[in-house]
């Protein structure tokens, strides 16, 4: 411990010898989206998500019950109104209750993960500014927490479905894949929103409006198929085809087709053909790729911008 002056009594700011720089351990490059160790990214994502999930349950004695109650209460109101309404023919579809609850639960997931991602970087300012870690862990953890909640919320959906007389089918195996795709889409949007919010604080109200529009335009409680066509630019436009361009709507439609009953149209038939399905797929891919590129570009600067 008696190291005192550097060799040759280094003057202030003396430059280390260039030759000595070779093979000197790992260079420190500053923060990045992914970090150098994928395991660390996963560990952090997992720990952050788990903590957030636990907090929801520690917050109130009836934590788990609340988690279930929120979608169920919304479901109760919509179900009551729609099933008594002359306007909605949708309520006569088979397993309407389960289909409605599935829509609400999936939308909850979508809104929780993207809405939560908006301010996630700013909310975790003390982590971002005080510690080096792969920045992507933050928005990923938001989506992961939402996934945990989703898996809880899917339980009552199944109960409703089975109670209404539905039976387990092999095609149910498609559901986790669809949920995963939805999660990827949410991650893509989450990456854009989280870094966007760091620079522009009106991201939140904008996104709230978008979410609200999504809720009404995704066929959560009224079937989109069969909506009267719209006349525009001298042509007849099938509204369903337009609304299905939204990846969330397409995924919801396909999940109902797989989980609830084959009488619900698949995404392909809802949008009107394989070729048109490329639109929501393209949008989702764009969100994920563009989101990552944007996030990766901004990641090194987030700590300074906060």
């Amino acid at each position: 411990m008696s190291a005192t002056d550097a060799p040759a009594h280094a003057a202030a700011g003396e430059e280390p010898q260039a030759a000595a720089l070779v093979g000197l351990g790992r260079p420190i490059k500053g923060p990045s989206a992914l970090g150098s160790d994928p395991r660390r990214l996963w560990h952090l994502t997992w720990m952050l998500a788990k903590t957030e999930f636990k907090l929801a349950f520690f917050g109130s004695a009836l934590g788990y019950l609340w988690q279930l109650m929120r979608p169920l209460l919304l479901f109760g109101v919509i179900y009551l109104v729609i099933s008594r309404s002359k306007l909605a023919a949708g309520s006569h579809q088979p397993f309407y209750a389960a289909a409605l609850l599935l829509g609400i639960v999936l939308f909850n997931f979508f809104s929780e993960s993207t809405g939560g991602a908006v301010s996630c970087m700013v909310d975790r300012e003390n982590l971002v500014r005080k510690i080096e870690f792969p920045r992507l862990a933050v928005p990923l953890s938001i989506v992961l927490t939402a996934l945990m909640n989703l898996s809880l919320n899917l339980i009552p959906v199944l109960i409703f479905l089975l109670a209404e007389g539905g039976t387990p089918r092999w095609i149910w195996l498609e559901v986790p894949v669809l949920v995963l795709i939805l999660a990827l889409f949410a991650i893509g949007l989450g990456m854009v929103l989280s870094v966007g919010y760091v620079r522009y604080r009106d991201m939140r109200p904008i996104w709230e409006v978008v979410l609200q529009m999504t809720f009404y335009a995704s066929g959560i409680f009224i079937a989109i198929i069969g909506l009267a066509p719209v006349r525009a630019f001298g042509t007849r436009i099938d509204l369903a085809h337009v609304l299905m361009a939204n990846p969330f709507a397409a995924l919801l439609e396909q999940t109902r087709h797989a989980l609830i009953d084959p009488s619900y149209p698949s995404a392909v038939s809802a949008i009107g053909g394989n070729a048109l399905l490329l639109i929501p797929i393209g949008i989702a891919v764009l969100a994920v790729l563009g989101g990552f590129l944007l996030f990766d570009r901004e990641a090194p600067k987030i700590a300074e911008l906060l």
């Binding site: 202030a12 700011g13 720990m47 003390n126 005080k130 904008i206 700590a303």
Partner: protein, 449 residues
Amino acid sequence: MHEAAPPPIVVDRVHKRFEIPREHVSTLKERALHPFRRTVTDTLHGLRGVSFAVQPGEFFGIVGRNGSGKSTLLKCLAGIYSVDSGDIFVNGRMSTFIELGVGFNPDLPARDNALLNATMLGLSPREARRRFDSVIEFAELGEFVEMKIKNYSSGMLVRLAFSVMIHVDADILLIDEVLAVGDAAFQQKCYDEFERIRRSGATVLFVTHDMGAVQRFCDRALLLEHGRPVELGDPERVGNRYLELNFSEQARHVEELAAAAEGSRGAGATPVEDAAQQPDTPSPDGAAEPDEEEPEIRYGDGRAEIFEAWFEDEHGERAETLPGGRPCAFAARVRFREEVEDPLFGINIQNGRRDHLLSASNQWSEPRCGTFAPGEEVTFRVRFENVLSPDRYHVTPAVARHGGAWIDRRERMISIVVTGTHRTDALLDPPYEVQIDRGPRASARELVR
């Protein structure tokens, strides 16, 4: 020169700039309404060409005043900020402690917080769980593991956070001084931990502006000023340089204020100067330091004049600042206009509160100095051991007739900064030694009686 282990940290010509926008566009709406408006940015140079290498096992201090770039450097090292140019190499497992208990959540029990914190600091969740018992044991929190930490006392929190921090097993620790804020007991606890870490042989980078801590812990230190390295090496030397910078900056600032006061009668001060002003300084229009503003008070019959005065260090070189505890001298040149017999030469040293700390003259010396002719110039010197504590001092030199009348006395003609490596609330800081002699030990039986 060539050691087997490569340096744990090598910093090579690191530059870091911050672009600070003049007007902050914080909404998309503004951006959309004014898509082509160029945001004017000010460039703030955080770091300008900083290079150094830290040796294995070294306790290395990074010191500097507020805004000198020391925290920026720490964040670059930690990988929180990316550097604009230059390289940083790290050899070994590094952990950053800018704040204790990063990510602690008050609503969770100690267990979850410790696991989360350890994961944030670089352990895998499995490792964190394995070390958890040891963390709790070290923190002496065994019975409170399941208690939410919002119900912890601050002492318990510190113990938990520190315990996690030292269980991360980093070879290289980056520690910010903000760790040691809080009440005295908290600070002591932190410093005790530093002492322990230091003994454990880890390489430590410690950012602070507390020179006492630097002296106490550091093997070497780097002094930054305006993002540039100014001094590297022995903590004592770095500490002296730091104090010198601090005082000279104060002096410069007072000068700037005076200049601004003069300038404000003409043109206003530029924004840059405004920004440089500390909030607690008096406005240029108001009275600045009365010492600096008041016209010089001068007494005497004018038979001689003191026309130059300065300080010299122990080597006889002119000095703006003097290190405490070293010999030094005050010198002044006097020109005689008329013949004067056996004049007295003397000085008087005061601090800012006008306490007299030293009065010296040749009044009692023999033989007397004799007669000086008109036109003759003399230099008189007062040599003394500098036992003044670090501060700024004002010197009043005087020439007087033997009977006592002033020939020339210039009140507070020059000032000098004395530097030191530790603060004291005393006026003087002479060399001293503290000795403790234990008496013979009383036997247990004697104590009972």
